[in-house]
Amino acid sequence: MNRINQLFEQKKESLLSIYFTAGYPDLNSTVDIAEALEKAGADFLEIGIPYSDPLADGPVIQHSSLTAINNGMTIKVLFEQLKELRSRVTIPVLLMGYFNPLLQYGVEHFCSSCKEVGVDGMIIPDLPMYEYEDLYQEYFSMNEISNVFLITPQTSDERIQKIDELSNGFIYLLSSSSTTGKDLNVSDQTENYFSRIKNMQLKNPTMIGFGISDHTSFAKASEYANGAIVGTAFVKILEKDHYMEQIPKFIKELKG
């Protein structure tokens, strides 16, 4: 059992996970931000590995990625920072990244580096299930890294079942098919989709993400899933001067 599994054993409701991009706004801000988030009450963290061509991301996260790359963030630098992180942060940490940088680093090496520094899970939006199962799953299992898959309102029940079988941390429910940074707009359709998933009684916990930006959307998502993930709305905080001071207030307001 890694930290993610332990967390979901202990806490089943209204979990809050925060996404931010490593190396943004400053190369060395990663660990400070992570620590501040834990102190402020985040239940776990998703740290983004910046990539030049982040297909699934809207302008805010694109901008944070580009800035982080220009700041000098690389996977190697990130692992150095994460070594320090584990002496200051105890909550689960996932890395979120596109596949190409991982491929260049070496997927096997990447998974063992994750284990070494205390990373608990991965979200790789553009690594398909088939390739994961066929080529890489063993490295994840060996190092007790949870690989988290996404599902959207268009994902078929059959595919969701298959994703549930392959998952061992949680499943990431996208509130809609969109890039990051769009506002959640909860229509009957969205509620039907959330209910449909809830009624499937999956073996894995679920977290809702994309478009969660305030207490209202967080509370709504928590009705249907074990909690929610906030990305763009938090990265926008990091764009501001004196962002460290705003983190506690931001988290407090989200949780309500």
Binding site: Y51, S52, D53, L55, A56, G58, Q62, L66, I69, T74, I75, K76, Y98, F99, N100, P101, L102, L103, Q104, Y105, P125, D126, L127, P128, Y130, E131, F149, L150, I151, T152, P153, Q154, T155, S156, R159, L174, S177, S178, T179, K182
Partner: protein, 393 residues
Amino acid sequence: MNYQVDEKGYYGVFGGAYIPEMLYPNIKELREKYLEFIEDPKFQEEYVMLLKDYVGRPSPLFLAERLSKKYGAKIYLKREDLNHTGAHKINNTVGQILVAERLGKKRIIAETGAGQHGVATATVCALKGLECIVYMGAVDIERQAPNVARMKMMGATVIPATSGSQTLKDATNEALRDWINHPTDTHYILGSVVGPHPYPDMVARFQSIISEETKWQLQEKTGKSTPDYVLACVGGGSNAMGMFYHFLADEDVKLIAVEAAGKGVDSGESAATTLLGKEGVLHGSRSLVMQTEDGQVVEPYSISAGLDYPGIGPQHAHLFTSRRALYVSITDDEAMLAGMELSKLEGIIPAIETAHALAYLGKMKFKEDDTVVVCLSGRGDKDLDTYMKYFGL
């Protein structure tokens, strides 16, 4: 050796569908249906009719006598420049618009570099009365202004891609993001043999008309259906794939793919992907990609907007690593001179993309009776501005 896609969507180790879940339903639908659509006699009937009566096919195979004399071989030009809209790109958009109709999609998106694919997409959307949105790098909007105007005249919305180097790669990112945000009503008409499976195969099939015609045209003109050499320029690789397609199994036919070296392969401003790239994933397929050690995609450079791309189609990556085709590169300067040369010798002003393929003729050693086919992928009207600036015309 097999050079075509396998049932998992791979060419050797290249290909696949490295896409986020948001795109999965659309890609799955396309994968399950494209062959069935294409092989349907009704589809074929309409496709062939449109290619003939709308595009103006078959495109001529022209023996360029003065060019032949200069280089000491029999050089034929496959005249894709004479197609409606002026390039090979329309072979693919005509096919894909019929696919989109059968999928019941109402909204069409596309990326474009030189603007030729954007124009070809806007054209078929006007023909079918479908909404058309084209993403184009802000830099390319500037250097290919006439094509932007053409798209607008035909009712398309042109949206500038302002991220990254503001060229073809970024336009492709924006198109893919649009598709993620419009998961049910939209078809993405990708313009080259890149992207997730089944695009590379589907686009290659639609472009394969180029070599299909070349074979019977050569047979008629020379009594032999295969040449000694086939040349084409490569951006993503669709005109080259179309030109190579029906010659892949004839291992005696030497296939030459010409990439853009930009200001030189060592200059840091280049788009010679096979030389400078490593195995990687870009725009949904595993292929060769120009990238840093950390796996960040690098901004390519070429004077020609259509070749200014840091990747190459997965089938090309396979032809390159298996050595079925030879990949070479040509600089901006060499291409510009070759464009001027063809204009002077044959009265044909080629697209700057195409001029890269022509420029390689000067680097080859021919035997007198060698037969060579160059894919004249497009005409140079869109590039007049660049030609004027370069030569001070």
